[in-house]
Symmetry: C2
Subunit: 248 residues, 2 copies
Amino acid sequence: MQEKNYLNLWPEPNYSIMKNLSVTININSDIYLKDPSTTELGKKILLNSITLIDKLGIEDFNFKKLAQRISSTESSVYRYFENKHYLFIYLINWYWNWTSIRIDIALQNLQDPDEKLKRIIKALIENSFINMDVPFIDEEVLHRIIVREGTKAYHHKTVDTDNDYGFFLAYKALCKKISLVLLEINPRYAYPKTLASTLLEVCNNNIYFAKHLPRLTDIKYNNDIKAMSNEIFDMLYAMTKANLLYKQ
Amino acid sequence: MQEKNYLNLWPEPNYSIMKNLSVTININSDIYLKDPSTTELGKKILLNSITLIDKLGIEDFNFKKLAQRISSTESSVYRYFENKHYLFIYLINWYWNWTSIRIDIALQNLQDPDEKLKRIIKALIENSFINMDVPFIDEEVLHRIIVREGTKAYHHKTVDTDNDYGFFLAYKALCKKISLVLLEINPRYAYPKTLASTLLEVCNNNIYFAKHLPRLTDIKYNNDIKAMSNEIFDMLYAMTKANLLYKQ
DNA sequence: TTGTAATGATAGTAATACTACTATTAAACA
DNA sequence: TGTTTAATAGTAGTATTACTATCATTACAA
């Protein structure tokens, strides 16, 4: 049985870097018709689509219900996004961009690749680990959506055209960033990209499984998020190191 | 760089066991209204829903299009399945059940757990490795659907009620089966369930990524399925063994 | 011969996913 | 101050989806 190693792992990150931080999260302009982050209605659309998708799931979410909730009209919402798939893609991209920036902050002035890996994993699990308050996005609720339905962004028939439009650049960039840290730990590792994407997916999957399909994971669901995070951290860290350092 | 080890790995499995094999794949009767495997129309529904979902994706697939394709009517299709979600769940369950049975066959009379693991991975990657011709299911096309959209079966808002109905029992049973083999290799391994579910997901993900999102995987897409299978096999085997044998 | 299971045919409804066009307001600019 | 323009609201309408209901037809089984 592998021993727990999360205790005292986390020197508080240097929050001062982010005190007056106003990072703008840049979203591929092909995704929207009108930039929602620039207007009042646009921000209401983002904020309320998140809470409504969280409540209904994307299948049952639609622009009519959204418009009703924000006391606007369908046609107004359609001025921002061609349809709900594009809105969903926007939210996904926002999330992965945001995660990427949080990782950048968490890794600042760090040399030790192993410490970098630890902080990356921590950032993937916990929203509170380096947070930046963006007024028109509820990161915690968005995270729940990503965990539950994020992979649907690319698991469909039109993935190739979406990919041509650059809709997955944020995810791929994040994956690249992680894989470079993995290669710092072992430059001769054969599967850095697969391990990076696996890390991202296994992280979300096991959070989801712990709550909904517990027989698919060894993580025990716990209302105390902190305790569950520690468990998931240990698992992901062990998994990553095992792959990187394994000699046949 | 890890060396390739797939050469001469595969003693031909004992196909004689399956020569006159008539395995019936049992599907939870809560999934359908009328058992489609018992009637002509039912079999047409299964066969053609697979090819049509493959062609359109589940989003654009519907019962009207299916009915047209089989020269039947919507109302007739609705007599078998409450809606397309249930039909999809049926196909998913069929697939995981079928995979489970193929693994059972592949592991017959085997003692060596390492050899068992190899055959499991092989069975997950390749449909042709132990095939059983079921006349009303095109396993290869179904496999493509599972790779592309399989995880959508449980990534939605109503996962808990679906789970209560037992819609994921086949997947969980398969996961359990694999995790027991993993524990044979290392009885003290801490995360057998997570590793089993990860194996299943990473396998499908990397087949999918190789074709559609190559920057998320180290597997090179290859029209020669055999060559790609070998690459994926090596990767999954290395990944599994690394996790099972890693000492902190 | 009668009953019943399986399917087909037709019709209808509520919701979804849009598109189009017009009206109103408010700020910006000349 | 008057005029433009951007942003939004309001209304209406269409095609498709996702069903439900009812009745007719066939076919085989008791």
